[in-house]
Assembly symmetry: D2
Homo-oligomer: 161 residues x 4
């Protein structure tokens, strides 16, 4: 299946996220990837919170991350997220963290429609995460049976070339 469009979500780097190297501690990028996935799902028209309330969990089973440049305190970074592939039992996300300069254009883009854009800004960190669908007892489930509306949503945001 084709990858979906990119969704973007802005973040201000927190003081707590830095370490004594003066940069963002590396494990935090995995946290940001996850924030990106949460907002991707919201933008697509669903919420991860609702999925969990329905008894569905989507844990990470594999992660690959490449760290090119560090983010720093008070930087504005943009999290780009898209689904690379998905089936009824698993899903793969791709994530990019990019630094944005603050300027008038930035303000404008923050408020613009955030779907379907091509990633812009200085690439800092990127990677992929693989997930499987589980129920509350940590048993695999088929999402086409448990939440077919999600399959429809994902298809609706696929990029048409």
């Amino acid at each position: 299946m084709a990858a979906t469009r990119w969704y973007k979500y802005p973040l201000r780097v927190r003081y707590q996220e830095t370490d004594q190297m003066g940069v963002v501690y590396h494990a935090n990028y995995l946290n940001w990837f996850e924030i990106g996935r949460t907002e991707f799902i919201r933008e697509a028209g669903m919420t991860y919170r609702l999925l969990e309330e329905k008894g569905l969990l989507l844990p990470v089973i594999e992660a690959e991350v490449k760290f090119r440049m560090p983010a720093r305190y008070d930087d504005t970074v943009m999290i780009y997220t898209r689904v690379v592939q998905f089936s009824s039992i698993k899903i793969q996300f791709e994530s990019q963290i990019r630094r944005w300069e603050e300027n008038p254009e930035y303000e404008q883009m923050l408020n613009s429609d955030c779907a379907g854009v091509e990633p812009e800004g200085e690439l800092l960190v990127h990677g992929t995460t693989n997930h499987i669908w589980l129920n509350r007892s940590w048993k695999p489930v088929r999402i086409d049976k448990e939440a077919p509306e999600l399959i429809i949503l994902l298809k609706s945001v696929q990029k048409v070339n």
Copy 2:
């Protein structure tokens, strides 16, 4: 009621716990206080994990923290914890974070019986936390009814002057 004896628990400062000031990020001390409470309960003969499995929660409702000196990466700190007062519905803990120099005596004390000692080492951070007992629905419960063995344990570790 009289305060209990002090219990101590050692900790090595993690890189992730530092911030770009080159010291431990201040919110982490609340986390260490909690680790101290967990180990206090274990030393007293119970586990907080077991209490939660029985449906009891012990959230913090108030915290007061004084930060005198910062801990740094790779420091060995000692968490001292005692119960200052408790009833069937609430409990107050007192916590101290002290820095320890690494030396042979240190190794020895780490392995010695850790109850009833007087706090030693350079005082870095200290404070108190107040807690109430709740059930899984976040309603207050009386611990003398829900876990009377805990009251007995707490009385058994009270300090006799």
Copy 3:
């Protein structure tokens, strides 16, 4: 001196900030207080990042926090921050964390001028933090000498009754 006006800053609760009680882990509120202070300083016309680059540090020396109700994953919370008192050597902030329902009015207020408002929304957690000004060698400094513009800024945002 009179307290300043309140500044507000919105936050979406992250999955990573929850714990197995199903709510936000209590130490994170101290982190949110700090984000509120960072944004307070920015709104007042300065940045904490710049202050640090000038060699000034503003560590917390005391914190008091009252936890009334927990925030939960995906909640929208509003951080309210104001300066209660300040001198040339120290400063006290007051912070409130309030939950906001998402509705059209919410969207509107997020984008409205965020200074001088009275706190609104369900009060979850509140407290105060005391700070002193230090230089890079962790020695106390007088802010009226090191950054007099900051004193002017703080006076300019004081509330006139």
Copy 4:
């Protein structure tokens, strides 16, 4: 070059490390990997703290993590760490997180010599991290020039088959 021996380091899972799924939040395993590396270097006869004080940084440039089973609050986990390969400019670590049951044997092994063992316990998470040596200005450095003693240490802990 041959891989080094495995070093092990025990950890008690903290409440703060859990999330509302009731398990350890996935980004924390990267943090544990790093704790394992810190203790590996200490066991080998050096400290990472000292290396940083000498002006050397060892940031992660790539990470691959496979999550098989989650760790839970209060579990005792063992972090296994070894160097898979190294040169004068880069180094690759392999990490395993395994759950240990608490039993008398456990207590004994915790205190036994911890080098050269084969990993034991239920495998939860494993992965590799790649690092390069940088100086304080974030420029690559050759470790054979900046800290030749480290090369000697690494060779001394290589496993001879």
